[in-house]
Every structure is written in structure tokens, then in C-alpha cells.
């Protein structure tokens, strides 16, 4: 700490005013969140407006910073150094192409969802608190992506975890919602453990956890160390992004208000794992084993989510499964190396738009149907909610990957890249390519199923339902997101997103897929159309009969309805042994450790009590203590002399 390093507010590449103001992007929503929480009920009247204003201000400033980035290039801003002694821990922000892509997504979609929430939460008496948490989330998420070190990223990482926990359990008067919040938090903690381990290894190896110190020099570490770090980071990513085997919390997280599902559990927070893997690209470059693990996790999750999505009747849970599956695609792409990473981020952006749009549409449907979420009780809503119908149609076509909707440009590229095999590993190209392609077909089926069950076919409503279109505050954000779902992919391709992002990534080389790229595209489209057609035949056409109760089904469907027994597996594999371990540990703790600790505490307290007895209030005994002290010290010093 004592060597004279002055880093305060120095920038690596020029000192642009805009970049140096980037901290405001984080500070404004954070302060707003603090104000809303501290002000209490007094702020109920205007709290939501402040929340929206904070998020919007953040967006405007990030536009400014973005313009600056385009003009002057990236910058690494050290705001303050915190600890500097043997190792360095700084607080700083990194403004580059990757982080700003996230910042714009988070602030733009975030602001839209804030606006939507004004109407959606209008009848909730805790709307102000809701906006405070939303602002807290935005601030933490921005800190996460703007961080210039793993430590600052970790602060944001924990912050979004906290916000997610608070928002999933927002209606914690219902105990199953509170349980869902806890489940999400605990699954995330398992992942956080990975991030902590990764940081400790980095600190040990480099004496720093900043991106600037670790990433460029990652290659000097042995592949074993890099693989360890990579696997630890992957664990973290799995927790945050709901990837196999830590995916079980995402479905339950739908207990939160729907705007939360749209913002946190679809568009932004759950993609943080993808961000982490892409950001740590140099580490995975040097660790083929860890990269393969990323690919496997991505492939498994994308199929897993898709299979679960096919069987869910709860509209939001089907969308959650779809989110899981789509992030599986991103993870797969991130594992493919720098070329794939570009499409991972691109898919992340397009997905941010269409999935947020789909969730807001789902919220609008719930708004119309008295918070009903069972799709078997919907049907024929397209006639009553034209705007919701059209905007969700845009999202549906986008996620299917129908050209020229947004998902086509990003997902098709990921499938194509998945077919690229590393030298001598042709099986990898086939295996991941086919999985990705098959996943696209499944996606088409379950998303079409969802769309048709909700909007087409015959009305299967429960009694006393009067569906109606939602107010403008809700539909306008939906329309804007729908526009993004329609044109987002096209725009990103036209502006050459891959060239834009390249400076933030390690250099990669384009490989050729194991089969012709057009053949892949054609085959994918055929699969997608087939999936959609099956869904139409079963759920959408005039002849289709959708039972209002789930029919008996074979083993796979039953398994899919039960999340492929993930909870049961978790329960058997982790919870039970965990509980046994805890019980054992508690016993040991109570008898052995606590015995020692209590003994020690007892000793401390007794000693404290005894010494306190010296504190008897008599000045004369105080003076005697002092005199004893003087004699002691003089004796010590004279003893040293002799």
C-alpha cells in the first residue's frame, strides 16, 4: 500500500471527457435507488417517475459515451485505487466495444421496461419499492459490464444477484415466491464460488485481478492453471446464466413480476455469464479443455431448455425454458472462440429485444386475463389484443429465425459456426452443429405452440374473463421492442457488428464449416418450418383441439413437464447429502467446534467480566492500576538494559 503509485483518474488511451463521465451511468440509477428506498412512503407519488428518469438519464449518457467511443476508441479509466500492497485492487471502468454494447442494451431495454412497469405495477402499493429495486438492478448490471477488473465485476455480479433476489421475491407475502427467490440466490451463490476461486488463482498468479493485468498475459500461465480458472469462470457463468447444471432456478424465478422476468431473467442479467466467458476469451483460448466444457454446457442447455419448453403449459415458464435454451446457444457460440463470440454477443443483443418483447407481451396477456398464465386456458386472444398479438408475432418470428427477422441473422450464424470443427476434431463440428440445428427445430415447435395456444384456435377461457388491450404505457414499449425484433438483426449486420466488436476480442481465424453453409441454412429453415407446422397442426388450426387439462403423456413429456426431474436430481444428489452433511457438521459443530468456541467465548467473557471487575468505579483503584502499569513498564525497560 505504501509505494507511491498514483493512478487516480488516469486514462490509458487519452482522457476523453465522456469516458471519464461514464461513472455517472452507474451512479445515477444507484442514487435514485437509494433515494427511493430511503424516502419511504413519502415518495410513493413520484417514485416511479424518478426511477424512469434515472434509467433514461443513464441511457442518454451512455449514448454520449458511445459516440465518444466510436470517435476516440476504448479507454480504461481508473477511478480510485483501493488497496495497493503486494497486490493491487483498483476501482475502475473499462469503456470498450463489448462493454458499451451491453450498456446500451441494458439502459435502452431497461428504460422501456421501466416505462412499461408504470402501468403494469400501477395497482401495487409497493410500486416505489419496485422501481427502487429496478434501478438498483440497472446500476449493478452496468457496474458488472463496465468493470475493468474481476473484482469490480464481482461487485456488480453480486449486486444483480441481490436485485434479482429482491425482485423474484417481490411479492414475498406468498411463501412459494419467497422460496423461489431463495432458490435463485443459492444457485447463484454456487456460481459465485467459482468466480471467487478464479479471482484467488488470478491474485496468486498475477497479484491483480484487473483485465489489463490478467487477460493480455494469460498465455504465460500453464494450460492447467488456465483450465482451472476457465472451469471456475464457467461455473460462475452457469450459475448466473442458468446453464446446465445450475439452471433449475430460472423457471421458479418467474414468480417475480413480469417486467422483472423480461429485464432480468431474459434480456440482461442472465446473459452476464455469456459476457464473462466472452470477456475472459484469452483465458479460454489457452485452455482447450475449459473451452470444450463451455461448448458442452451450451449444447446440453440448449437442448434441455428446448425439451422442457415443449411441455410447459405455464406461459412464463415456457418462455423461461426458451431463455435458458437461447442462452445455451450463446454459450455454445462463446465457446467456439472469437469468431463465435461475435455472434454470441449479437444473438445476445437480438435476443435481448425479442425475448423482452415476448415477456412484455406475456405480461400484457396476463394483464388482460387476470394474471392467468395457463396457456390451456387461453386461445383466440389475437382478436381481442391486436397490438399484443402483432408485437408477439414479431418476437415469435424473430426467435424462430425466419428471415429477415432479428433472430435469423444471429442464430443462423451460430449454427453455421457450430459446424466449424477445430483441426483434427471433425466430430466436434458434426456433434455441436447437429445439436444446434435440432435445437432450432425444437425452438420452432415450442414457440409456435406457445403463440398458437395463446392467440389462435378457440377460446378456452375460464369464466368471467374479459380480455382487453393494455394501456399505451405498456403497448408503446412493446411496439418499440417489436421493431427491434423485426429489424435488429438486419441493422446489426448492415453496420458490420463483427467489425465493430473485433477490437474488444482476441483475434480469431475464420474456419470453414464441415458442410456447405447454404446447405446448413436451408436445412435449418426446413426444420424450423416443420416444427412450426407441427405446432400449427396440433394447437393452431381450426381443427386442433387443445384440452384444458394436460392429457396423459409418455415418459419424456412427463419428464419435460417436471423440468427433466432436475429438482429431483438436485434433491437426491445435493440437497439430501448436503442436508446429511449439514446435520453431521452441525452435530460436530455443536459438540466439538462449538464446545471449543463456547469454551473460548466463555473464557473471553469471564476474562472480560473479571477485568471489568477491576473497573469498579473507585478512582483509587484506577490509580493503583496505573501505578502497577508504570512499575511494569519501567521493569520491562530496565530488564532490557540488564
Amino acid at each position: 500500500m505504501i509505494n507511491n503509485v498514483i493512478l487516480a483518474a488516469s486514462t490509458a488511451e487519452g482522457g476523453q471527457a465522456a469516458a471519464r463521465s461514464a461513472w455517472l451511468v452507474i451512479a445515477i440509477p444507484l442514487i435514485s435507488a437509494g433515494l427511493l428506498l430511503l424516502a419511504g412512503r413519502k415518495a410513493d407519488k413520484w417514485g416511479h417517475l424518478l426511477g424512469v428518469a434515472a434509467s433514461a438519464a443513464s441511457f442518454v449518457i451512455s449514448l454520449w459515451v458511445f459516440a465518444d467511443l466510436l470517435k476516440n476508441g476504448s479507454s480504461d479509466i481508473n477511478l480510485a485505487w483501493w488497496i495497493n500492497g503486494g497486490f493491487t485492487l483498483d476501482f475502475g471502468l473499462q469503456i470498450d466495444q463489448l462493454s458499451m454494447a451491453f450498456v446500451l442494451l441494458v439502459t435502452f431495454v431497461g428504460t422501456l421496461i421501466h416505462i412499461y412497469s408504470i402501468a403494469y405495477m400501477a395497482h401495487d402499493r409497493d410500486r416505489r419499492r419496485f422501481f427502487a429495486y429496478l434501478n438498483l438492478f440497472v446500476a449493478a448490471m452496468l457496474l458488472l459490464v463496465l468493470a475493468n477488473s474481476y473484482l469490480v465485476l464481482f461487485v456488480g455480479w453480486e449486486g444483480v444477484g441481490l436485485a434479482s433476489y429482491l425482485l423474484i421475491g417481490f411479492w414475498n407475502q406468498r411463501s412459494e415466491y419467497a422460496v423461489a427467490a431463495k432458490k435463485a440466490f443459492i444457485a447463484n451463490r454456487v456460481g459465485d464460488f467459482g468466480l471467487l476461486v478464479a479471482m484467488m488463482i488470478m491474485l496468486g498468479e498475477f497479484g491483480s485481478v484487473s483485465f489489463a493485468a490478467v487477460l493480455p498475459d494469460a498465455a504465460v500461465l500453464s494450460p492447467t492453471t488456465l483450465t482451472l480458472i476457465g472451469l471456475a469462470l464457467l461455473l460462475a457463468a452457469c450459475g448466473k446464466s442458468a446453464q446446465f447444471p445450475l439452471q433449475s432456478w430460472l423457471g421458479d424465478a418467474m414468480a417475480g413480476p413480469t417486467p422483472v422476468s423480461a429485464l432480468i431473467h431474459a434480456a440482461t442479467m442472465v446473459t452476464a455469464g455469456v459476457y464473462l466467458v466472452v470477456r475472459s476469451g484469452p483465458i479460454f483460448e489457452g485452455a482447450p479443455g475449459a473451452r470444450l466444457a463451455v461448448l458442452i454446457v451450451g449444447a446440453v442447455t440448449l437442448l434441455y431448455g428446448a425439451i422442457v419448453g415443449c411441455a410447459k403449459d405455464d406461459m412464463k415458464k415456457a418462455l423461461a425454458a426458451s431463455t435458458m435454451s437461447q442462452i445455451g446457444y450463446m454459450m455454445l457460440a462463446a465457446g467456439l472462440g472469437p469468431v463465435g463470440a461475435v455472434f454470441a454477443i449479437m444473438h445476445l443483443l437480438t435476443h435481448g429485444f425479442f425475448k423482452a418483447g415476448l415477456f412484455l407481451g406475456a405480461g400484457s396477456v396476463m394483464h388482460a386475463m387476470r394474471d392467468q398464465v395457463d396457456m390451456r386456458r387461453f386461445g383466440a386472444l389475437g382478436k381481442f389484443m391486436k397490438i399484443t398479438w402483432l408485437t408477439m408475432m414479431a418476437g415469435w418470428l424473430a426467435i424462430l429465425g425466419i428471415p429477415p427477422f432479428a433472430g435469423f441473422f444471429s442464430k443462423d450464424k451460430i449454427i453455421e459456426q457450430a459446424f466449424v470443427a477445430p483441426a483434427g476434431q471433425v466430430w466436434q463440428g458434426w456433434a455441436f452443429g447437429l445439436v444446434a440445428m435440432f435445437g432450432a427445430g425444437l425452438t420452432a415447435f415450442y414457440m409456435s405452440r406457445l403463440f398458437f395456444m395463446v392467440f389462435q384456435g378457440k377460446a378456452r377461457w375460464t369464466d368471467d374473463q374479459h380480455p382487453h388491450e393494455s394501456p399505451g404505457l405498456m403497448t408503446v414499449p412493446m411496439v418499440i421492442l417489436a421493431l427491434g425484433s423485426v429489424f435488429g438483426g438486419l441493422i446489426l449486420t448492415v453496420v458490420k457488428f463483427d467489425d465493430y466488436l473485433a477490437p474488444a476480442l482476441v483475434e480469431g481465424h475464420h474456419g470453414e464449416p464441415v458442410v456447405n453453409a447454404y446447405a446448413i441454412m436451408a436445412a435449418t429453415l426446413v426444420l424450423v418450418l416443420a416444427g412450426a407446422w407441427i405446432a400449427w397442426a396440433k394447437f393452431g388450426s381450426a381443427k386442433a383441439v387443445v384440452p384444458v387439462l394436460p392429457p396423459a403423456a409418455d415418459g419424456l413429456v412427463r419428464a419435460a413437464r417436471a423440468d427433466l426431474y432436475q429438482d429431483t436430481v438436485n434433491h437426491g444428489l445435493f440437497v439430501r447429502p448436503g442436508q446429511a452433511l449439514v446435520a453431521g457438521a452441525t452435530k460436530t459443530d455443536n459438540s466439538v467446534v462449538d464446545g471449543a468456541v463456547r469454551g473460548l467465548a466463555w473464557l473471553f467473557l469471564r476474562t472480560g467480566g473479571l477485568i471489568a471487575r477491576l473497573q469498579n468505579g473507585y478512582a483509587r483503584s484506577y490509580a493503583a492500576t496505573m501505578l502497577a502499569g508504570v512499575i511494569l513498564l519501567v521493569a520491562i525497560v530496565l530488564a532490557g538494559r540488564i
Partner: protein, 579 residues
């Protein structure tokens, strides 16, 4: 700066004579050490002396205002014009702020400022200026807390401190809404003494400064409005034990003079560097001087007064003296050890180690069993003195800068912490406000009744406990790292263990505030509360000065927890002494 220059102009214009009186150091020194140094006359650089001179001059002015302002009515009870309080508060705030700004200005141009002033009686060097700035900053915050009063017009002090507790005279004074405005000149004298203390260049100045800072504090400790007997007892104890401590100090000074024939620190250092047969005399003398300083910082086993006085004194005074006295006394300690000690570090190390370890352990262990928030913070203050001593005992430049950083941050957080305590009061069943609710039981559920206040206090406690993202963590890190770096690993390990144990009693208060049900008047639980404890504590409404001080110290605590770099550099730049 205009206020500062205006004020210094004012002061240098008027009470020249009184300055000579209060700065008795040069003349006393002349008398005592005439044999050592022959001086024709004294050269004083008023600019570098101005932080001290401003405060002491203003104190004299305040005393005059007090003498002129008060009127006596026919029945013998003094009558005060309403503006008296405002004038006194204004003078005090202005003087301390001006002194602080002057110290800051000098610190920023430290190369020009550094000097041996008043023929070596006062040492102006970077460390002095840093400490004077720290003292002025904490005193300013402390003054805001002291000057605050409730919306009903009650401040923390007895309406007439001279009145016998419970007498007719006292109740008359209370009815007439009297206030003891003498508090302000006293605080200014104390502050002036504190600012002179670490600057003292010879033993006589050191002693005079010690008394100038101590005597007003003895008085102030006895002036609490509520629980007056406790307060008066605290005052008397503090005075008796303080006199005892001062006697050791003087005794030691005599031995040192006997061994070296010198009173000036630089001369003593020079003599100490030369081996002579009188070394044991010198070493014992130095230890006795250190005892006097250990007493002031509240180090074990010279700490016994701390809990009683911290508890009995009016809370704003406790905060003021806990912060400022600690800074001043540690400043003097650092000067003695770092200016005189290097030649004798072999002798002083075991002394410092013993006291540091004892202080940390006793402060922590006894803190665990406290049931009163003020006493708890008193033991916390003792433990913190131990932590700072680990930095001092490192005897390295890292140790010096670490201790200085610790002093500043701890001082600010302490004023804030006691400021919060001053705001948490008992309210009886009729809704009348009474004294401070200092029982830990009364703080239960405060988080629900006054969330902002409880949250603020929790943050101060976290800083005391040394939790990251508060200044307390950075400060602890600095001193422990210095100790590790200087081969005092054992000391640092004891410190870490004590920090961990101490976290327990801070957490206990947080748990009480946020996670335990309130001791409500209505519940049966209340009946079982310890004797003498009134109702549950609530945050009260005041003029807002206290809240300003608390907010400022909280901001300081958090900013230095998140971004301490610039301030560490500032501290490091000023961690030098003339030797």
C-alpha cells in the same frame, strides 16, 4: 481563505497580551532551559503558528464575550441575552474552521511552512500540519454536535453547571431556559491545546499544551444536562487521574532533563544518540513521559478512566474528546517516539509492544461484556488505541503514515458515532423527552423506529469493525501491513484476532437495532428490563447541526472506504517530521 485572514487580522490586532499568556511555552521554556540555550529574544513566525494562534485567540475573545454578555438579575440567577449563544457558536465555528483552513493551506505548501518556530518551542513540520488539520476537522464536526439542540431548545449541557444537582437553583435555571455558553470558550481552549500538543518542540511546551487541552476537558466532562451526578463523578475522576498522569509526565521530564541536560526534543535526541552512563535514567524518564501520553490516548493499563468518563460526559463532549484528544495525544506520542526514539528503539520496542497488545486485548475482551452503548464505544476506543499503537510500534515510515491515516479516519467516524448517540433519546410515557437512551436494550428495534439513524450508526460500527468499503478497513489494513512489513508480525496477528473478536460486539449492536423486537413500553418485556433504564430510544428532532456533522463524517467514512487512494497519498506526503 478570506475568513481566515480576516480573523487572523482581528486576532493579531487585539489580544496580543493574552496570546503571550496562553502561549506560555516560550517564556516558561526560557526560564527552565536558560542554561541550555542562551537566547536574546524570541522569533515567532506568526503565519505558521496561526492555526494554534487563531483558536486560542478566539478562545480568549469568547471568554471576554462571556464575561461581558451575561447579566445578573436581582435574585442572583444570571440572565443571558438570546444572541449570546449564537455569538459564541459563531466565534467557535469560525475560529476552528479558519484554523483548519490555515493548516490545510500550510500543508499544501509544506516546504515553505516547515520550521522550528518560536526558537524551537514549536515544531511546524508536515506531520504537525496534518494533525492540526485533522484536529480542526474533527473539532469542527464536534462543535456542530455540541452546538446542536433539540427543537425544544435543550442542548446537552446543564443549564447551570455550578448548580447542585436537584437543587431549586437548578430547576429555576432550567425554567428560565438558561444555557451554559462557557462551553464554547472551553472547547476552543481545549482545541488550541490539542493543536499545539503534537507541535511541541520541547518538553515544557508539551506539558503546557497537555494542561491547556486537559483542564477544559475535565470541566466539560462534568456539565451533562442529564444524569448529572454521573457526569460530575466522571469529571472528578478524570481530573484526579489526569493529574496523576501529568505527574508521571513531569517526573519523566525531570529525569530526562537530568540525563541529558536538555528539554528540547532535538537536543534530547542528539544526547540519546551518544552512549553515556546515564542512559537508564534517560530511558526510564522517556517511559514515564510516554506513560503520561498513554494515559491521554487511553492505552492499557492507563485506560481505567476512559469508560467512566466517556459514559458520564455529555455525549457531544465525549465525541469531541474521543476524536480530538486521541489525535493530539497520538501526535505527541509519535513525535516523542519518532523524534527522540530512533536511538532508543531497542529499549522502547518492548514497552510499545506490551502496551499495544494489552490495549488491544483488554479493549476487545472487556468490550464484549458491555451493556451500555457509550461504554461500548469507550472500550472500542481503547481497542482502537491498541490498533494505532501497532502502527506506532512498527517504527517505520509506513507505520507513521498508517497511524496518521488511522487517526484521521477514526476521529471523524467517532464524532459521527457519538453524534448519533446524542440523537437517540428516551421518551417517557407522557411523551416528554429525557436523556440519552444509552442502554443496549433500549436500542433494540431502533432500525424500525428510526431507520436512517440506525442505518447510519450501523455504517459507523462497520467502519469501527474494519469492514471493507469503509475507511476503518483501509486504516486497519494500513497499520497491520506496516506492522507486518516492519517485523512486528506477532503484533499484527494479535491485532487481527482482536479485530475479529471486536466485530462481535459491533455486530451485537447492529443485531439489536435491526433484528430484535423493540423493548416497547406496552409489552411485559419492558418490565423485565434492568433497573433504571427508561423507555426505548427514539431519534429526536433537533436544529439539524448534529445531523449535518453526522452526514459529513459518514460521507468521509464511506468515500475513504471506497476511494482512499488520494487521501493515503496526501497522508503519506505529510508523514514526515523534522528530526
Amino acid at each position: 481563505m478570506s475568513a481566515a485572514s480576516l480573523l487572523s487580522a482581528l486576532i493579531s490586532a487585539s489580544p496580543g497580551a493574552s496570546l503571550g499568556g496562553s502561549l506560555g511555552a516560550p517564556s516558561a521554556w526560557r526560564g527552565a532551559a536558560a542554561a541550555a540555550v542562551v537566547e536574546a529574544d524570541i522569533s515567532i513566525d506568526w503565519v505558521t503558528l496561526s492555526p494554534v494562534a487563531i483558536v486560542l485567540g478566539a478562545a480568549v475573545l469568547s471568554t471576554l464575550v462571556e464575561a461581558v454578555g451575561a447579566r445578573r438579575s436581582r435574585d442572583g440567577v444570571a440572565v443571558q441575552p438570546a444572541f449570546l449563544r449564537i455569538v459564541q457558536v459563531g466565534i467557535a465555528l469560525l475560529a476552528v474552521a479558519a484554523a483548519g483552513l490555515m493548516a490545510l493551506r500550510l500543508a499544501l505548501h509544506v516546504d515553505e511552512a516547515t520550521s522550528l518556530n518560536a526558537n524551537g518551542a514549536v515544531t511546524i513540520d508536515p506531520m504537525t500540519l496534518y494533525l492540526q488539520l485533522a484536529i480542526a476537522a474533527c473539532a469542527l464536526l464536534g462543535l456542530l454536535v455540541i452546538a446542536d439542540r433539540t427543537v425544544q431548545g435543550e442542548d446537552a449541557f446543564a443549564p447551570q453547571a455550578a448548580a447542585v444537582p436537584g437543587s431549586d437553583y437548578e430547576s429555576q435555571a432550567r425554567r428560565r431556559g438558561m444555557t451554559q455558553t462557557d462551553v464554547y470558550p472551553l472547547v476552543q481552549f481545549a482545541t488550541g491545546g490539542m493543536m499545539l500538543f503534537p507541535a511541541a518542540g520541547d518538553l515544557i511546551t508539551l506539558f503546557v499544551a497537555l494542561e491547556v487541552l486537559s483542564l477544559p476537558l475535565y470541566l466539560l466532562s462534568g456539565m451533562a444536562r442529564h444524569r448529572r451526578l454521573l457526569s460530575q463523578e466522571a469529571s472528578l475522576k478524570y481530573f484526579l487521574l489526569g493529574a496523576f498522569g501529568s505527574a508521571f509526565f513531569l517526573f519523566g521530564a525531570a529525569w530526562v532533563y537530568g540525563a541529558t541536560g536538555a528539554l528540547r526534543l532535538t537536543d534530547i535526541a542528539a544526547a540519546a544518540a551518544l552512549p553515556s552512563g546515564l542512559d537508564p535514567l534517560l530511558v526510564v524518564g522517556l517511559v514515564l513521559i510516554l506513560v503520561g501520553l498513554f494515559f491521554k490516548v487511553g492505552a492499557v493499563p492507563f485506560h481505567s478512566w476512559t469508560p467512566d468518563v466517556y459514559q458520564g460526559a455529555p455525549t457531544p463532549i465525549t465525541g469531541f474528546m474521543a476524536a480530538c484528544t486521541k489525535i493530539a495525544a497520538f501526535g505527541a506520542l509519535l513525535r516523542i517516539i519518532y523524534a527522540v526514539g530512533p536511538g532508543l528503539s531497542w529499549d522502547l520496542k518492548p514497552v510499545l509492544w506490551t502496551v499495544a497488545i494489552l490495549t488491544m486485548v483488554v479493549g476487545t475482551v472487556v468490550g464484549l461484556v458491555q451493556k451500555d452503548v457509550k461504554r461500548l464505544l469507550a472500550y472500542s476506543a481503547i481497542a482502537h488505541a491498541g490498533f494505532i499503537l501497532t502502527g506506532v510500534a512498527a517504527l517505520s515510515s509506513d507505520g507513521l503514515s498508517g497511524s496518521l491515516f488511522y487517526l484521521f479516519t477514526y476521529g471523524v467516524a467517532t464524532v459521527g458515532g457519538f453524534g448519533v448517540i446524542a440523537l437517540v433519546r428516551e421518551v417517557d410515557s407522557q411523551g416528554h423527552m429525557r436523556g440519552e437512551a444509552t442502554g443496549l436494550d433500549q436500542w433494540r428495534g431502533l432500525g424500525r423506529r428510526s431507520p436512517v439513524l440506525a442505518g447510519t450508526f450501523a455504517l459507523f460500527l462497520l467502519s469501527f469493525a474494519g469492514i471493507p468499503l469503509t475507511s476503518g478497513f483501509v486504516a486497519k489494513f494500513a497499520v497491520f501491513q506496516a506492522a507486518f512489513g516492519a517485523g512486528a508480525a506477532a503484533l499484527a496477528i494479535v491485532g487481527l484476532a482482536c479485530s475479529a473478536a471486536a466485530a462481535f460486539f459491533y455486530a451485537r449492536v447492529i443485531v439489536a437495532m435491526f433484528f430484535e423486537p423493540a423493548a416497547d413500553d406496552q409489552t411485559a418485556e419492558f418490565e423485565t428490563l434492568a433497573d433504571g433504564i427508561g423507555s426505548a430510544g427514539v431519534g429526536i428532532r433537533t436544529l439539524g447541526l448534529n445531523q449535518i456533522a453526522v452526514a459529513m463524517s459518514l460521507a468521509f467514512t464511506l468515500v475513504l472506504g471506497v476511494a482512499p487512494g488520494w487521501f493515503l497519498n496526501f497522508t503519506r506526503g505529510l508523514s514526515q517530521l523534522i528530526s
